[in-house]
């Protein structure tokens, strides 16, 4: 899982504070993500986990603090800058292009990998066609990877929930991201689907070396998958460390895990 050989930091956020009006959503949060690791963010509902991801990929603009991604420090991200520099994500409440097929969703995920201009595109010949075929192959590899061949041509809006989550992961993977943000990829799944999704997360991490930031509620999953875990509580940073440290942290137990684990 953890590639010890390259402890390089891919992303660092420093003293990030975000408020909406009087409501403080994130309060001076600092943490880093190392290249190649699976980094989880946990915390009760309303802890600011999703907001943190939204800051990282530029949907939210924090009032204070800075974000350093691949060595470049910014006050805030913009979504297309984040995407351009290799950050892809999935959403808590599945945000797929519902009217489009699985294949088209994944092809759209390759948007940034396709460069031909409007002119060729409009004519649908020449370089645009070649590019279309190349990217189709890349998309097919993702379909194969996720085992969703059977729904290739189906409109995603009609798929069951678990499969939609999978397609959304596929769309994010299509961009060949360096950092993948997964916002509760296993929410609402049955245990079999969860197991599959865990497998995919681990495979993505080990096969493609993709760094993963994961928000998840299932503690079993988090403790199994993660290299390091960040705990948020009402916008504040409660703990940060490897799963065992976090599990035994008294603040975390009090605030979140509730019952102390038996040892």
């Amino acid at each position: 899982m953890n590639q010890q050989s390259s402890p390089e930091t891919i992303l660092a956020v420093e003293n990030i504070s975000l408020s909406f009006g009087v409501m403080k959503v994130l309060d001076s949060i600092s943490f880093d993500i190392r290249r190649g690791e699976i980094r989880s963010i946990i915390g009760p509902n309303g802890a600011g986990k999703s907001s943190m991801l939204n800051v990282i990929n530029g949907f939210y603009h924090p009032q204070e603090g800075s974000i350093t991604f691949k060595g470049e420090t910014r006050k805030q991200m913009a979504p297309h800058v984040a995407a351009n520099h290799g950050i892809a994500r999935t959403f808590q409440n599945i945000a797929l292009f519902k009217g489009m097929s699985t294949l088209d969703n994944i092809m759209t995920g390759r948007n940034l990998k396709m460069k031909t201009n409007l002119f060729w595109q409009a004519l649908h010949i020449g370089p645009a066609r070649v590019e279309e075929l190349e990217n189709r192959e890349a998309a097919e590899k993702i379909i194969d990877f996720l085992g969703i061949q059977a729904i290739r041509k189906k409109p995603v809006g009609k798929l069951p929930y678990g499969l939609q989550k999978r397609v959304e992961l596929g769309r994010a993977l299509a961009a060949e991201p360096e950092l993948l943000l997964l916002d509760e990829p296993m929410a609402g799944m049955n245990s079999e689907e969860k197991e599959d999704m865990c497998r995919f997360v681990l495979d993505v991490n080990s096969e493609f070396g993709t760094t993963i930031a994961l928000i998840e509620h299932d503690m079993g999953v988090v403790m199994d998958l993660s290299d390091r875990v960040l705990v948020l509580d009402y916008g504040k940073q409660l703990a940060d460390g490897v799963p065992d440290e976090v599990r035994n942290n008294q603040d975390v137990i009090d605030a979140y895990l509730g019952v102390p684990h038996e040892h």
Binding site: R136, E140, I143, D144, G147, Q149, D203, E207
Partner: protein, 657 residues
């Protein structure tokens, strides 16, 4: 040229392969859908792949008589693994790919497997799990590298690496492969197939090249199959049927086999390939039909009306047209119109438009399902077979297809019915032995080659076709000596959509009786259409009208039974509708929803006794387990009815009348 003579010196699969390379080098041998596109290999290309693999396997130490396990979905590389092993004189042993590691461990150990060729990470993980228990497995070769990059065990090999080693070896020992192939002969062991075995451990059925190739060729001759057939390989490779239809017959006839992209895409791949020769177990045909019906329910009014109209017409004349019986010009024209408007498009959707020959086997198929496909003009036929003889025992001849028989003996097959009603047969396909299991071999196969099927049956008096009635051990006798085949009668009852389950009693009794479970949906629906009020299963089961409905079903079954002098006396005299649905949670059904007859008999012994008395009602109280796990008790007064019993109506009497 006579096909039989032409091929007699082609007595192994590698030799057959070589002959296709000569005869049709550029024709497709196998196809696989990968990354959304059909990839294909010609016979020449496939032969090159197999040669490289065989040499590679030799470098890993696979020798004559060694076993190569093959585990995974239908993939060209896994099929090549079979031929490659056979080229070296080694024996391929395909395993069921969805078996858990423990089950695999037994077979890997029992079969003395030396090398395992597996599909992907999932299977590799299982091999690693059982490695301690199967020290005989020296190497594991995997096809799909995904997820396996970081596996560093030395006994794991990538398929391509093995082939590369093979190419190098072939380069240095260029006569090795051809010499090995030439050494092989018809009497060598061709393959070992493990039967799932309902009781005890699975048994390895050892089949020689002659067993497999002669049987495959006889099947081809009987059905006039050619090298132009299209076949979809989608059933487990470990199952004898897949080995026959997608491997052996492809090598004998030279037709192309297509492997689906994934287990979940088989239906759409079927549509794209449009097989001309197709096998499916009854449940697949059932599912297809259900899908069609559901879709028609949702279709627009006009479309549905059109569908119903033409399907009604097909029911009337379709089967007769398929059997080449004469029909009126009007009916024939109307059927042609229906073919353009309904049957053709429907067959397209099913993927069966080009299907010349479709087989089904394994269990009884509902007559209405069977007739549905036949009325569309799809020549679906039942066959009766076993792993022990490379499938073919009986096949329905074209034009003589009846839902309740399995046809006439296949080419070169002799069949006898022994005194207990058990079917025994002898054929060139009869297996050599069960691997390392002389006891089972001796109890199944006689000295002079007759094999006990374990099935009870008889030849129909009207048409001479074989009829299977039950497992031989489940067949009993009434007190007057009449054959009592409970499952056969139960199945007849269950073909009525109103009957969900039926339990027959009669072994060692004077006459047959039955418990019936009504189908809550079907009967409920029927009752609603008649404005009959009911408040639940018990209530519905007790309605006079429902009893009448079920009595009609029972009467029809009795009428059917009366057609055959041997079974006529086992007509159902009395029956009752059970006050609760048989439930696996109460132990009345197995988890696979098969009725546990003796358990049910004991549990409701008061009811059984009442059936054999002259009571018309019986009070019963039962412990039941609710869905949430609580238990409670259920009390009801169950009514008992007499059914109509018909006179024996065999051929002889018909002739006399």
């Amino acid at each position: 040229m006579d096909q039989k003579e032409q091929d007699t010196n082609l007595d192994t699969f590698p030799k057959l392969l070589a002959s296709h390379v000569k005869l049709r080098p550029t024709q497709d041998a196998i196809r696989e859908k990968d990354l959304g596109i059909w990839q294909s290999w010609t016979w020449a290309e496939a032969a090159a792949e197999i040669r490289a693999l065989a040499c590679g396997l030799a470098t890993l130490g696979l020798k004559r008589g060694d076993k190569l396990a093959i585990i995974g979905d239908n993939r060209p590389r896994l099929y090549w693994g079979m031929t490659a092993a056979q080229a070296l004189g080694a024996v391929p042993v395909p395993l069921y790919q969805d078996a858990v590691a423990d089950e695999m461990a037994y077979v890997l150990d029992n079969a003395d497997v030396k090398i395992a060729l597996v599909e992907d990470q999932e299977q590799v993980d299982k091999m690693l799990e059982v490695r301690d228990r199967c020290p005989n497995v020296e190497h594991v070769i995997f096809d799909d590298t995904r997820g396996l990059r970081h596996y560093e065990q030395e006994f794991l090999h990538d398929f391509e690496t093995v082939q590369q080693a093979g190419v190098a070896y072939d380069h240095d020992h260029s006569d090795f492969y051809d010499r090995e192939v030439a050494t092989g002969k018809g009497s060598d062991v061709s393959i070992m197939l493990y039967t799932s075995g309902t009781t005890g451990n699975p048994k390895g059925v050892v089949l020689s090249n002659d067993n497999v190739i002669i049987t495959a060729r006889n099947g081809i001759i009987r059905e006039n199959l050619t090298s132009k057939e299209e076949v979809l390989a989608y059933l487990p490779m470990a199952w004898v049927g897949d080995n026959l239809f997608s491997y052996a017959q492809s090598y004998v006839a030279g037709f192309c086999v297509s492997c689906p992209e994934d287990a979940t895409t088989a239906a759409s791949d079927l549509r794209e390939i449009g097989p001309t020769y197709y096998f499916a177990p009854p449940r697949v045909y059932e599912n297809m039909l259900t899908q069609v019906m559901i879709r028609m329910e949702d279709a627009a009014e006009i479309k549905r009306k059109l569908f119903n109209y033409f399907m009604e017409h097909a029911r009337k004349v379709g089967v007769r047209i398929l059997n080449r019986e004469p029909v009126s010009l009007k009916d024939s024209l109307l059927y042609k119109l229906g073919d353009v408007l309904v049957y053709g498009p429907l067959k397209d959707v099913l993927g069966l438009r080009r299907t010349r020959l479709a087989y089904t086997a394994g269990e009884a198929i509902g007559p209405e399902i069977f007739d549905f496909y036949r009325s569309l003009g799809i020549n679906i036929k039942q066959l009766y077979g076993q792993t022990e003889c490379m499938v073919f025992i009986c096949v329905q001849p074209d034009g003589e297809v009846y839902a309740d028989t399995v046809g006439t003996p296949a080419i070169d097959v002799e069949i006898k019915i022994d005194d207990n009603g058990e079917i025994i047969y002898r054929s060139p396909g009869v297996f050599r032995e069960y691997y390392k299991n002389p006891e089972s071999t001796a109890s199944t196969k006689t000295e002079d080659g007759w094999v006990h099927t374990g099935d009870a049956g008889f030849f129909d008096e009207h048409n001479g076709h074989l009829k299977i009635i039950d497992r031989a051990k489940d067949v009993g006798k009434l007190n007057d000596g009449t054959l009592f085949a409970p499952k056969y009668i139960e199945n007849k009852l269950k073909f009525f959509s109103f009957v969900k389950e039926a339990v027959l009693f009669g072994d060692g009794r004077d006459y047959s009786t039955a418990f019936i479970n009504i189908d809550l949906d079907a009967v409920g629906n029927w009752a609603e259409r008649r404005n009959l009020a009911y408040s639940g299963y018990i209530d519905l089961a007790n309605l006079e009208e429902v009893y009448q409905l079920i009595k009609d079903c029972v009467d029809k079954v009795n009428k059917d039974l009366s057609e055959d002098s041997r079974l006529a006396n086992s007509q159902i005299r009395r029956f009752l509708i059970l006050h609760k649905e048989l439930d696996a949670d109460d132990g009345e059904l197995t988890r696979t929803r098969k009725v546990r007859r003796s358990f049910v008999g004991d549990r409701y012994d008061t009811l059984v006794e009442s059936l054999y008395s002259d009571k018309t009602e019986c009070h019963v109280e039962t412990q039941v387990t609710f869905e949430d796990g609580r238990t409670g008790s259920l009390a009801a007064d169950v009514q008992i009815r007499d059914a109509e019993v018909f006179k024996v109506n065999s051929v002889n009497q018909e002739a006399a009348a």
